[in-house]
Subunit: 112 residues, 2 copies
C-alpha cells in the first residue's frame, strides 16, 4: 500500500476507522486485514486507502469512497461482515468509525 | 493522548493529515508535534485528536473541530504556521490534508 491515497477532486467520502488491537490472534488478524484491503479495492466506488498502526496496537485506517451508497454496500459485503464480527469477538479492544464527506484536499511533496 | 477521541454527536468536522516523515531532525519534530497537540487543544472549537505513526515514518493524525471556521483559525494560528513551514522545509517528505464533515459515528468497546 502506498502511504498516500490518490483521490479525486472533492467532494467524495471517507471512513475514518480508529482502533486498538487486542493481543489475540495476530496471524489471523494480519491475514484478514490484508484480505479486506484487497477486497475493498474491488468494490464499486472505492477510491483508495491509507492505513497506519503503531507499536502500541493503535491504528487509523482511512478508506475513500465515491458515495455514501458505496460505503453502505462495503459495510454490508458478506465476507467483510464476517471480518467485522471477528473484529468484535477477538481482534479489537475498542474502535470508533466515522463516516465523513471530504470537502477540501491539498498536499505537499518535497522537491527533489 | 488517549487513542480514541470522545467527540459529540455529528455533524462536526475532521482534518485528516496523512504524512511521511523525512529522516531530518527527529528531536525538533517530536518537540514541535507535542507542542502543536497542546496548542490545538486550547483553540476554540477543538473537539479532540487521534494520532498514529508507524515504524516506517508514515503517520495519520485526525483532529476534530466544531466548524470549518475553527479549522481555518487553527490553520492560521501564528505558532502553528511556523510549524507548518518547518514541516515543509525539514520534517515531511510528503503529506495530504483533507478537510471533512463528519456525518455519522459509531463504535465498539469490548465488554469486560
Amino acid at each position: 500500500m502506498e502511504p498516500l491515497a490518490h483521490t479525486p477532486t472533492p467532494p467524495y467520502y471517507a471512513v475514518v476507522f480508529t482502533s486498538v488491537r487486542s493481543d489475540a490472534d495476530p496471524a489471523g488478524y494480519e491475514e484478514t486485514a490484508a484480505r479486506m484491503v484487497e477486497l475493498a479495492a474491488r468494490q464499486p466506488g472505492y477510491l483508495g486507502v491509507e492505513s497506519v498502526r503503531d507499536g502500541n496496537g493503535v491504528g487509523i485506517t482511512v478508506s475513500y469512497w465515491s458515495s455514501l451508497e458505496a460505503i453502505r454496500a462495503w459495510k454490508a459485503e458478506a465476507e467483510h461482515r464476517l471480518a467485522q464480527q471477528a473484529g468484535r469477538q477477538r481482534w479489537y479492544d475498542c474502535y470508533r468509525l466515522r463516516v465523513c464527506r471530504v470537502e477540501d484536499e491539498y498536499g505537499f511533496v518535497r522537491p527533489r
